[in-house]
Symmetry: C2
Subunit: 69 residues, 2 copies
């Protein structure tokens, strides 16, 4: 089990949080996603470390961006 | 056919627009809902004039408020 923290930019409301949670939660091996709307901080718990590309793709699928990408 | 304009406060993103559109669109007789996210202005076209209470209830069901209510 591993937990990584990402920063997502562009979320403005609870619907945004739900979209990001759903998309990242759909990545293979992810068991938990905790989003802090105020800061954009997203803690992702997974069975094995995730590729940054997979997380980036999920965030973009939801309609947002990883900070710095 | 009648069109009335309301102002909804609290919408921050396209998901919010979709929620408000869906709830107001569900009122009997409503044929069109146009939301301007930037201003909160919502034009509602309906077969007959709507009661303010019905619109207020729909907006609140979506999680937002009519301005001044």
């Amino acid at each position: 089990m591993t937990t990584s923290t990402y920063t997502v930019v562009g979320m403005t409301c609870g619907h945004c949080v739900a979209s990001v949670t759903e998309e990242i939660g759909g990545i293979d091996g992810v068991s938990q996603v905790d989003v802090d709307l105020a800061t954009g901080s997203v803690d992702v718990t997974s069975a094995a470390p995730l590729s940054d590309d997979a997380v980036k793709a999920a965030v973009e699928e939801a309609g947002y961006q990883l900070a710095g990408s």
